[in-house]
Symmetry: C2
């Protein structure tokens, strides 16, 4: 089982409008609402691939839990009394997605303690733990470090800014920043140098997603690069699909070239779908054998 943790779970709302006209009033007849947040998206992708998953984290209201139940995705979310945080994505006729992401209300200390208390038991039952996304207001910057320190199960950490930097010293097996997040966290625009810094601070391996340049994995066994031809579509959710593949590969004990090829193919399969958490399994199966992976190179072979 792969456990995904979403400290700031959300209701993802999608509005379809013919044209987005700033300053105007739009009548929305097509409203889609479903459970979201990065860890929820990761679990949704894993579920679609047939993996056993469990979702935990912090969620307001009951709608997120109800939607996961309807999708057949197991959850042990900690319910908080505030209403669910929402994200609103306005998709216009040309396919452009304009997103408004609520930060969410502050989490009470006792609710964070409830999550921290339930986490070790859930994590110890898992083959891999995925910690994903922003920390809601009220959580300490080392919240991810506390969770990582509370289990011996390998952890994949997908976060940015203080949440990433706060978690790395606790020794996650793998972190997956994108190029921008890596540069912001490490102060260098060179992904190999940035990855080396995160490894020096405690990360076991760093897989950085470089957009059209694919993935670079900086590991104890060397450096790999994996890429596919660029694809048009909606990049929202590509990172979550990538994390799903990395977690599944870690759980299976697969070699880096296999894991990375899978991650690139599954990212592309997410780009083919408008909603984060969805993947086009045909695209995934067709692409996975075609992904080129180079390596291992020594870290100095830049």
């Amino acid at each position: 089982m792969i456990l995904t943790v979403t400290p700031n779970a959300a209701l993802d709302v999608t509005y379809h409008v013919p044209t987005l006209r700033p300053g105007a009033a739009h009548r929305v007849t097509d409203v889609a609402v479903r459970a979201g947040g990065k860890g929820v998206n990761v679990a949704r992708v894993l579920h679609a691939l047939g993996h056993e998953t469990l979702v935990t984290g912090l969620a307001g209201g009951r709608e997120i839990q109800d939607d996961l139940a309807a999708a057949g995705i197991a959850e042990r979310l900690v319910s908080v009394t505030t209403p669910a945080r929402r994200t609103v994505t306005v998709v216009s006729g040309d396919g452009a997605a304009t997103a408004f992401n609520e930060q969410g209300p502050p989490v009470a200390a006792r609710d964070w303690e409830r999550l921290a208390a339930v986490f070790p038991t859930l994590a110890d039952r898992a083959e891999v733990v995925v910690l994903s996304g922003s920390l809601p207001p009220g959580l300490p910057a080392d919240a991810y470090a506390r969770l990582i320190g509370a289990t011996t199960t390998p952890v994949v950490l997908d976060a940015s800014g203080p949440a990433l930097l706060g978690g790395v010293p606790a020794g996650p097996r793998l972190v997956k920043p994108n190029a921008e997040e890596l540069a912001e966290a490490t102060g260098t625009g060179d992904p190999l140098a940035g990855a080396a810094r995160l490894r020096a601070h405690g990360a076991g391996a760093v897989v950085a997603s470089l957009g059209p340049d694919g993935l670079v994995a900086v590991t104890g066994e060397g450096v790999w690069r994996a890429r596919s031809r660029p694809r048009t579509g909606n990049p929202t959710g590509a990172g979550d699909a990538c994390v799903a593949a990395l977690a599944a590969g870690l759980a299976a004990g697969a070699d880096w070239p296999v894991v990375l090829a899978d991650a690139v193919a599954l990212s592309a399969a997410a780009v083919a779908c408008p909603l984060a958490g969805d993947v086009d399994l045909d695209v995934y199966r067709r692409l996975a054998p075609l992904i080129e992976v180079e390596g291992p190179h020594a870290d100095t072979d830049r």
Copy 2:
């Protein structure tokens, strides 16, 4: 007491962002949520003016009721099991408001029957009834006519399209379309001709809001025009404030010049506020004595 009926009550959500960039993701740290829908806005304005009000209509969830209770506005809303319809308004730093208005889920016939059953008792206790806004999916086009026919209390009807045309034959004391709604409903761009058609079909009086040209009232006692100098601001909610003044004037038995001056001043007081349902009482009190009202003219004095 003035009873306002909102068949499609909503939660009005306001997001503040520095700049609205179509195609981009926006982090929203400032989220305001409150009860809305046109009749709710009318009641909010009346409440601010010190009038006794009661809100009824159809509302999903409990949040709309809870927000009205917190604002001290009495309600007898009929709760339906679907979640509350939402409107999302994105206000950018330059003050521009971009609105996304959900239509709302279909209303079950039994819920509409519950509203129709409770309405006559509430209406008979009121001095004036205000019927406001769109009909949710599932309600018949003559829903407003059924309510109007169920009471002898004077009714102000503020609706458009089929909801307006379906209600007029039942004889509302007053209807308040804006110029666009009047033209759409009657097929003529001449407000006096359009108003005459609505009166011929059953409306007692027609007060049409003409934007910067103020109001024109076509009544059994003649035609009045009222205007003030154009004001900059957010026109959202100006119509609801206008209706609040018309309802209060009708309840007080005031003469048309007094009612119309009040309606123009209160509309301007709403333009000064970003949220529908809010009015700047200082603006209202300063402007009300300054509004010019001309009339009565015979309908043929065009």
